[in-house]
Amino acid sequence: MKLPETIRAAFVIARRDFSATVLSKTFLFFLLGPLFPIGLGFIFGGIGAQVEETAAPATVAVVSSPADFALLQKARHRFEPLGTDRPLVRLQRVDPEPDAAAQRQRLLTSADNPILGVLEGGLFAPKFTGAVTADGRTVQQINLFVEEAVRMRSSLQVPSLPVEVTLTRTSSGSVAFARNLTARAGQTILFVLTILLAGMLLSQLIEEKSNKVIEVLAAAVPVDAIFLGKLFAMLAMSLVGITVWTSAGAAAIAIYAKGGLESLPPPAVGWPAFLFFILLYFSMSYLLIGATFLGIGAQASTVREVQTLSMPVTMSQVLLFGFASLGVGRPDSAAAIGAAVFPLSSPFAMVARAAEEEALWPHVIALVWQVLWVALILKLASAIFRRSVLKSGPSRRWPWQRRQTA
């Protein structure tokens, strides 16, 4: 059958499935469900603040004499026992150079040696420049270290001198780490959404099989069109859900995380593109994994069988996620490329890449590749369905099945 006809038929199927789902009363629960955890997450400490705090590799370059540095290190050492839940900021000494401003700039942007900020001006005119907010832990710690170092040096009670703080938007350390974090966050969002939403496709054909509508459908349209329609109906429904959830999430970010996404260092491709990629790769991972599930689920004839199938299917999703996360932080490693090439993990790997690498052309290739696989999986699933469920075509036996003549 010609492609436009298949798409037309798929649209008829999708329209029925979509309206049957969205117009049902249970859809409201579907929409509200995920809002509870999102709401709770934002009530307990803004996500934005946490990102800033956990992001840093927590190394501060100290431009100072060895003597001053030794005192600072000693001070840090004294406070070490306090940093039980999270390690204290690490200090790294750098020799002063004549052009202090140029040195500071270089340190802040050096990619080989990612740092969070620069402390200069010795113990008595300390000046901190870095990518953190003024009330952040890092600044508080630096303040403590300087104060303690001065105290130890003079063995006197001197009034503490607050560190003069200059804030830059980013530094290389915070960028590398934040991108890594954004990559992981992107993958996790994708993973959570697919695991929540793709599982529904396992049971998509149960309804038609149990009420015998499948015979009406299969007589009128190709099985490909049935599968395609069901897949896109569920994708559309998921996107409705995601739109509702992200709107709620965005509102929460705006309220709790002050500057919202603006306060976070941007991913390699920039925020708008990255959000677009998350949506795009969610759709792709939904179509890929969904098509697989649809094919697997179509073999089941009862709800019980679907329930039995859902556990191994969820486990394999976890495996895919694990596989894709191996390459995060090393976008050119074999693990990252492998995960991007293997169709089912490709969207996860590519969303991480969008956070880490600026180039856009790999995404074009990946998307074409993924679309190709969606088509392939659907074709395969419908061929297997026709053969094993509708019992169509010449009967074929596996080699190990004994041939019995009728």
Binding site: V12, I13, R16, V216
Partner: protein
């Protein structure tokens, strides 16, 4: 009678074979359905009627053999011009009746808005406008079947395939369905239906295919099936015996004093002469043209006929 050569062929099957898991369900069925005809597929349970129809419609592919539907050998390509009522009826339970009819039309290419309009028309033509908004689940089985039948014709197909369309309907609705089939045929639509109730086929069909144990035992015009049988003689005489007995065929049976046998090759005259000459004393004598039921017995065998015979609708026939 018609000459096959003058009419276009709406559907054709050649040597269709279907194996299910190594078991042969259909074993070389051939059918020719002329355009605008009503063709009945007759056969007992498990004969392979449904399987044959599903192969012809392209729901399943045959193990071997070929089929053509409205000139295409890939039946789904002409899905827009075909309507099909499956043996196991199936509609979405939550869909309103008019929506279900429109949906079935949409599957076969009818724009949904037009489908909704026609659905209301079809329902109100039959005085069922109050069904339109009711979800299928709230309709009775027979009502739902009527809705599905309307969904089968809503897109005005050229060929309608109905698998056991009469089962599950009361006498009144069976009659309405017969009328619908006649109306469709009168409008030039080709109708194929399967049944194990010979009476329906006899009343409606121009052609029949008799399927037994996966084979087409007969395929052709109803008249042709009948004419395969010799007329049946029913005879009652005053004399129990006499020389006239030798004029009766050896297969003649005496049931409660009445002789029943096929009219011998020579026709009625030699028989009458023998009866009169030997003064048999004829009380009643009738020579009847066999019905489709007798033809069915002759073609498919007593066993198959017995399997078909005990349907309630049978009682009303002949």
């Amino acid at each position: 009678m018609f000459a096959m050569g003058e009419r276009a062929i709406a559907a054709e099957a050649r040597d269709l074979v279907k194996d299910f898991d190594g078991k042969r369900a259909v074993d070389g069925v051939s059918l020719t359905v002329p355009e605008g005809s009503i063709t009945g597929i007759l056969g007992p349970n498990g004969a392979g009627k449904t399987t044959t129809l599903r192969m012809m419609l392209g729901i399943i592919d045959p193990t071997s053999g070929t089929r053509t539907l409205l000139g295409h050998d890939r039946p789904l390509e002409v899905a827009r011009e075909v309507g099909y009522l499956p043996e196991e009826r199936g509609l979405y339970p939550t869909m309103p009746a008019s929506e279900a009819i429109a949906f079935m039309g949409a599957l076969r290419g009818l724009p949904i808005a037009e489908g909704r309009r026609r659905a209301l028309q079809l329902l109100s033509d039959r005085g069922h406008e109050d069904w339109a908004k009711r979800p299928i689940r709230t309709l009775s089985k027979g009502m739902a079947q009527t809705v599905q039948l309307l969904g089968t014709i809503v897109h005005r197909p050229r060929l309608i395939v109905l698998d056991e369309p009469f089962s599950g309907l009361d006498a009144l609705n069976q009659e309405k369905l017969e009328q619908l089939i006649r109306d469709q045929a009168a409008a030039g639509v080709t109708v194929i239906f399967s049944t194990h109730v010979i009476a329906h086929a006899e009343r409606l069909c121009e052609r029949v295919a008799i399927i037994a144990e996966g084979r087409a035992a007969f395929e052709g015009a109803v008249d042709e099936a009948r004419s395969r049988l010799r007329p049946i003689v029913h005879l009652r005489t005053r004399m129990a015996d006499g020389p006239w007995r030798s004029a009766l065929p050896t297969s003649a049976k005496n049931v409660a004093g009445e002789w029943r046998f096929e009219l011998p090759e020579g026709g009625p005259e030699p028989l009458l002469k023998a009866l009169l000459d030997s003064a048999a004393g004829i009380e009643t004598l009738s020579i009847e043209r066999p019905g489709l039921h007798d033809a069915f017995i002759a073609i498919a065998g007593e066993a198959a006929a017995r399997e078909m015979g005990h349907s309630p609708a049978e009682a009303g026939s002949e």
